[in-house]
């Protein structure tokens, strides 16, 4: 309780700080503008910092965000509109039985340590994903591979055990990164890839400096140097933008600060989409919410629009299901559970859970604590008794809630792309009865493109209709930058924060 009071106070002071400085920032920038457009370097502030540079053994979004597409490349990549594009593969063909992919590779590609890139590097890297060298559990995305052949230097043939509509998309994520065989000994501290940038300086916890490569195979990046500067605290990052030490806030985690930047001409605020579904998860397997009536009561009780407006300043999108609008099988499910307090009260009585204690495990993250407060008041209005238990993130939340499933209700942003089958699959902390969707999902993945879309829509609808969880909103990708910055990756739809197109206008 004491904690919350302090942070509210800090926010108030910060807001005051921003009002005070509104005038001086304008005066400075007229002089600074001319200087900026000639600059060949740029500093991006991020709040999630990588603990090391090795995503093959360490989970978390911060490492691929910095390295994928910038340092490491895959055969394919996902563009800003969520479409697949060629990367290290110039083109590819898929066999009639849809199990064999023949990739034709780019010529003249080198790694940043000078090694030549060829088909054998692809085979080496992808064989390595399924070996014990990889500990990141996302590696399971590559288990579908049956064999990898390299008929010549620039051709790779990958055969899958069964047709899959999702595999090529998965390949664009970090599991598709191509490494040089000679440069995998110290991945935690040294990243050698084929991408447009190499890392010229890495100070753990503070910054990563990317230098553009003269020998990059593709179009050269506009900037010579891009720095990712890491801040624990959004307010400190926003201050740094105001005082000119950084040029871009990569993903603003404090939407209340965005408004201040929106007024005036010195800064631009971009609101794009991302893959993060903020899930109000309930333990389907045990306790109060093993009963579907009880879960339905919760879904009638919560009002997602109010949650979004109050907790996250209205930035974000209502989804009603586990699929973001950028995915091919998106369907608007917001109408399935209308906000209806009377209906919620009825169901609470029917399930006999009035006054029963509900353990609400809230990870210590800004969005989670903000959302939890509103959810609690909405549930109380329907006669439920949620009790907030704040858990330190990541360590305690991962241990108690995610791994040991010792909770009734929680709230977390699931950021991975196309993660519906992991979050509601076998062994997941949601405890959802995965047999309800397993066969539909398998058939969809093996079927034609149309069957894939309709099958996955059915999966998503089933999960929502079973009241498996609440879906608060789709997390926005808020980027704040100096007005002169161009080529910002507005949408966060892949693993990466691509810096290739960044430029000063």
């Amino acid at each position: 309780m004491g904690f919350r009071r302090i942070s509210g106070f800090t926010a108030a002071v910060a807001a005051l700080a921003l009002t005070i400085t509104g005038c001086s920032a304008g005066a400075e920038s007229s002089a600074g503008e001319g200087g900026d457009s000639a600059r060949t370097d740029l500093v991006v502030a991020h709040t999630a910092e990588p603990v090391n540079l090795d995503f093959t053994t360490t989970a978390g979004a911060a490492i691929p965000q910095a390295l994928m597409e910038n340092v490491y490349e895959s055969l394919v990549r996902i563009d800003q509109s969520g479409e697949l594009q060629p990367a290290l593969a110039k083109s590819w063909e898929i066999s009639d039985d849809r199990t064999t992919y023949t990739f034709e590779l780019q010529d003249g590609v080198t790694f940043s340590n000078g090694d030549e890139f060829s088909s054998s590097d692809v085979k080496f890297s992808y064989d390595r994903v399924t070996s014990d060298e990889w500990q990141n559990t996302l590696k399971s995305k590559m288990e579908i591979i049956d064999s990898i052949e390299t008929p010549d230097e620039t051709t790779v043939e990958i055969t899958l055990q069964r047709p899959s509509n999702s595999w090529l998309f998965d390949l664009a994520s970090l599991v598709g990164a191509v490494f040089s065989e000679d440069a995998v000994d110290d991945l935690a501290n040294q990243a050698i890839g084929t991408g447009p940038f190499s890392i010229s300086d890495y100070t753990r916890g503070q910054r990563i400096v990317f230098a553009s490569r003269d020998d990059y195979w593709g179009e050269a990046p506009a900037l010579e140097q891009v720095t990712f500067q890491y801040f624990k605290d959004s307010v400190a990052a926003a201050n740094a933008l105001r005082s000119g030490e950084v040029d871009v806030l990569g993903n603003l985690q404090a939407p209340e600060l965005a408004g201040e930047f929106e007024s005036g001409e010195d800064f631009q605020v971009l609101e794009g989409t991302a893959n993060g579904e903020v899930v109000l998860s309930m333990n389907n397997a045990e306790g109060v919410f093993a009963d579907q009536t009880a879960r339905e009561a919760v879904l009638y009780a919560i009002d997602e629009q109010t949650i979004l407006d109050t907790a996250w300043g209205g930035y974000g999108t209502l989804i009603g299901g586990m699929v973001p609008p950028t995915d091919p099988y998106y369907e608007d499910l917001t109408g399935v559970w209308e906000h209806d307090v009377d209906k919620a009260k009825e169901l609470v009585a029917e399930a006999g859970i009035e006054g029963e204690e509900i353990r609400f495990a809230v990870p210590s993250l800004p969005y989670a604590t903000a959302i939890a407060d509103i959810v609690v008041s909405q549930l109380e209005a329907a006669g439920l008794q949620p009790k907030i238990e704040t858990q330190e993130f990541p360590a305690v939340w991962l241990d108690k809630t995610f791994t040991n499933h010792d909770y009734d209700m929680s709230v977390i942003n699931h950021v991975e792309a196309r993660d519906i089958l992991t979050v509601f699959g076998e062994g997941s902390y949601t405890g959802y009865d995965h047999t309800r969707i397993e066969d539909i999902a398998q058939q969809a993945d093996e079927g034609s493109e149309e069957e894939y879309v309709s099958g996955m829509q059915e999966v998503a609808r089933t999960i929502t209709e079973d009241a498996a969880a609440g879906f608060a909103f789709l997390f926005p990708n808020l980027i704040v930058a100096k007005a002169g910055v161009q080529g910002l990756p507005e949408n966060f739809v892949s693993d990466s924060f691509p810096i290739h197109a960044l430029a000063w206008g």
């Binding site: 002071v13 700080a17 992991t422």
Partner: protein
Amino acid sequence: MARYVIGRVLQFVLTAALASVVVFVLMQVLPGNAAQVALGTSATPEAVAALEAEYGLDRPRIVQYLSWIGGVLTGDFGTSYVTKAPISPVIFNSIQVTLIVVLASMALALAVAVPLGTAAAVLHNRPTGVIISGASQIGIAIPNFLAAIILVMVFSLGLGWFPSSGWQAPIEGFGGFLERLVLPVTALALVQAAILTRYVRSAVLEVMREDFLRTARAKGLPAGRALVRHGLRNAAIPVVTVAGVQLATLLIGAVVIEQVFVLPGMGTELVRAVSNRDLVTVQGIVMVLVVLVLLLNLIVDLLYSVLDPRVRRAA
């Protein structure tokens, strides 16, 4: 004198040894484990167990303790299993930042507090003295993180004189180093100066009432010279005690200031290591902090004997 010094040093060594055991045991009871945090939201129990074995977390506790403390004694704090890099350079780099900030702010605080406190004592029944006392009272009430936020608001965001955050090592450019040092040092020093001013004032007031000072005056010394020659050394003893304790507080208080100004000091490293469940790093940093605090106490104890012959003789 020698016996006094040896006794104090022995006490220091024993306390440090005991502290190392306490630190190690405390780490064991922290909830959450490193293997799990490393593998994240998609880990299987088998993968976690395999990684624990790789980290050596499945060995008996006593073996883990001995291998750790053995390394520490030779200056090797081990390798972090989260960052996969050696910990000693992390501690070496961050301790410089913290010590520079803490010592600079203590120096600044003393430079402000000694003259102000003395003036407040000498002029205690005049308006100047009352104003100094009042101002120091207010200074004590301001938490240093608030002072930090206000300083950033005014001098960085408002006037644009200093950067709002960041650190530059002196080797990378001395101007940039000083520029980034000003606000965090001032934020820490403000509160310290206020606290120390009050102690200096009361110590000097006390001394002014002593018989030996009246004797000095009676023998013809002017008030100012009597105070400087005989008074200040006597007033220094309580001030040194408080400054020693405050220095330890500063070391810990720097954690917050480092967060506000995004300084790569021990506090920042500690917070990061705790949230990553990087226990080996946490152990290393906490151990170094404990030793630093004990060392400070030792130095304060030894300073007494320099300042006050009675301490020497009593031992």
